[in-house]
Amino acid sequence: MDLPIGEGISAAVDFMLEHFQGAFDFFAAILKFLTGGLTDLLGWLPAWVVIVVLAGLALWRVNWKFALFVVAALGVVLGMQLWEQTMETLALVLAAAIVALGLGLPLGVAMAKSDLVAAVLRPVLDFMQTLPAFVYLIPAAMFFGLGQVPGAIATVIFSMPPSVRLMNLGIRHVDVENVEAGRAFGCNPFQLLFKVELPLAMPSIMAGINQTIMLGLSMVVIASMIGAGGLGNTVLTGIQRLDVGLGFEGGLGVVVLAIILDRLTQSFGQAGRKDSPLGRLKKLFGGEGSERTPT
């Protein structure tokens, strides 16, 4: 027996291509704006500015050892002549993450609030996550052609599920009594979400964001097959030429990005409460200030 599933999907894609081109173009325009803007920005910034900013973030969020690592690792990337590609990849990951989170987090909230939505979304998410990543490349290329935009779109689809899932899970696992307390003190549904549920679900939400960014990074490399560019291109070239060295260099660049993004996003998930930028600054200068004040 030969089930014509493949044919059906092809027909569906053709149909969508014919009738929804406008919607796809709109979506593509947003992604193009984001990826293009970010690529331009990161490409325009001198390398040292980027390094200083990332090292500063590392110092603020993690510790000085990690800041040192950031400087050294990005120095290596610079030394490998892969700076441009690395920034392209970073831009693509960030753009895809922004869109994925922009779609995924509200979907997660909807899923937590409605069992019906959850029941519908769960298999879709399973599907999105387990379908081999390469499969997204074909329709993405068909809808949007080759280049950064289809790469970003394939990345969005592949990396979105964890943020949806973990948002849903985070909200559902907020302590019942905390939610009851919120309601008992007269929260409306909006206040309940923003004053109780989201803050208490924050560790889970941040884990979802971290996962989305990391998955995005892995997908961006694959997306180079449809011309997304960046470090993936370097790796791909290495494979095509059987150039182990080049492939390794590209891979190393990805690893460096992965470590930096992972540690930074993780740090926002842990006890974000006291470490608001302002609070940190106050603490930093508070100690000095109090010494100066005569008692």
């Binding site: 009594e177 307390a181 919120g182 008992a184 003190f185 409306n188 206040q191 004053k195 208490l200």
Partner: protein, 404 residues
């Protein structure tokens, strides 16, 4: 008139078709039967009681008795299946969502068993939570929150985070958060149950102290009898979703409505529940009102009543002393023939009256050492009654009767 909260024939059924089960409950089917037939759970069944303004009303029962469901229906965290809950005469069960939110913001607040503080907020922000939600401007809500924190003695910890506090302190914050909105009704759901015993007693005292400063209507849920006895002005006992008895602690100990209620009091230290005034009786001894009574006349009164002891008080019932036939006789022997004697001369020495509000436990040693019943007086020195050894033993024995 003075019912702050009125619960009228309230039912709660958990399950997909509550109306069907409700029908069955009303037909008199039991909780287990209904569960077997429909798979639905009867949480609360035909509960009715009034909670008076300014009292601490305790709802007590074992877990699964429906007490937590009951308290949540008072502020409609859980909707009733049937019946009504009246707050100052307004039916909470039929309010619109908007009205309900207003009531929760201004009139009813709640304290939770596991504190339910927001870990990302400081103690001050937590305390101001209800006011924040109600849209009170920041300066005002922080001032009011500080006031509430001051009332529970946590003002110095305003900038701490909940995870820096001990359990008792956390619940003080929970209490302050509930008090900050200045509610007419305070719901406390097993509020002290998660605390260790010493802290729990401390918090009970704290609640009683706050209550003495400003009497609020408090609905206090607990499974702990000692706690119920300690804080409750009145107690409602719930069993399998039904309110089986409502009354003062003494009422309930004296006349338990059924075996279930009685079983609660088995092993209860009755000497802590009752005060001296509860046990004191007036019919055991002869009363002598002093002016003009001579030793001789007193003795003849005692013989007339065939009693060996008399309590002497003045016209305004102020306690004067105790005389016995022995003390009267020995006093008479020392008197001249024509002297009838004054009764003060015959007072038995070393009889100290007990205060009516003293716990029975304190009176027990007095009663045990004295050969005579212990007289009891109220806080103005007026005679209330006496406690005999027999009455004392009978009271202490009461808690064991259920086992026979």
């Amino acid at each position: 008139m003075d019912a702050k909260l009125s619960v009228r024939n309230v039912y709660k059924i958990f399950g997909p078709h509550p109306k069907r089960a409700l029908e069955m409950v009303r037909q008199g089917l039991g909780k287990d039967e209904i569960f077997e037939k429909t798979g639905m759970t009867v949480g609360v069944s035909d509960a009715s009681f009034d909670i008076r303004e300014g009292e601490i009303f305790v709802v007590m029962g074992l877990s699964g008795s429906g007490k937590s469901t009951m308290v949540r229906m008072l502020n409609r965290l859980i909707d009733v299946t049937a019946g009504s809950v009246l707050l100052d005469g307004r039916d909470i069960t039929s309010m619109s969502r908007k009205e309900l939110i207003e009531v929760r913001r201004r009139e009813i607040s709640m304290v939770f068993q596991s504190f339910a503080l927001m870990p990302h907020q400081t103690v001050l922000q937590n305390t101001a939570f209800g006011l924040d939600v109600a849209g009170v401007p920041r300066a005002e809500r922080e001032a009011r929150a500080l006031e509430a924190l001051d009332a529970v003695g946590l003002k110095p910890n305003a900038d701490s985070y909940p995870d820096e506090l001990s359990g008792g302190m956390k619940q003080r914050v929970g209490l302050a958060r509930a008090l900050a909105v200045n509610p007419g009704v305070l719901l406390m759901d097993e509020a002290f149950s998660a605390l260790d015993p010493l802290i729990r007693t401390e918090m009970q005292d704290e609640l009683l102290r706050l209550q003495s400063e400003h009497a609020r209507t408090v609905v206090f849920i607990t499974h702990d009898l000692d706690e119920a006895m300690r804080v409750g002005d009145r107690i409602a006992i719930m069993q399998a979703g039904e309110v089986v008895q409502v009354g003062t602690p003494e009422d309930i100990v004296r006349n338990p409505a059924n075996e279930y209620v009685r079983s609660f009091f088995r092993g209860v230290d009755v000497s802590q529940v009752f005060s001296a005034g509860d046990v004191a009786r007036r019919d055991q001894v002869t009363i002598i009102e002093r002016p003009g009574v001579s030793v001789r006349a007193a003795l003849s009164r005692l013989e007339e009543h065939d009693r060996s002891l008399a309590v002497v008080h003045d016209k305004r019932r102020r306690f004067e002393g105790v005389v016995t036939s022995d003390s009267l006789l020995s006093c008479l022997r020392g008197l001249a023939r024509d002297d009838d004697g004054r009764i003060e001369q015959a007072f038995v020495k070393d009889i100290e009256p007990a205060r009516a509000d003293a716990p029975l436990a304190d009176v027990m040693s007095l009663a045990a050492e004295s050969p005579w019943p212990v007289p009891v007086v109220d806080d103005e020195g007026r005679y209330v009654g006496t406690i005999s050894k027999a009455a004392l033993l009978q009271t202490l024995n009461r808690s064991d009767q259920g086992e026979e």
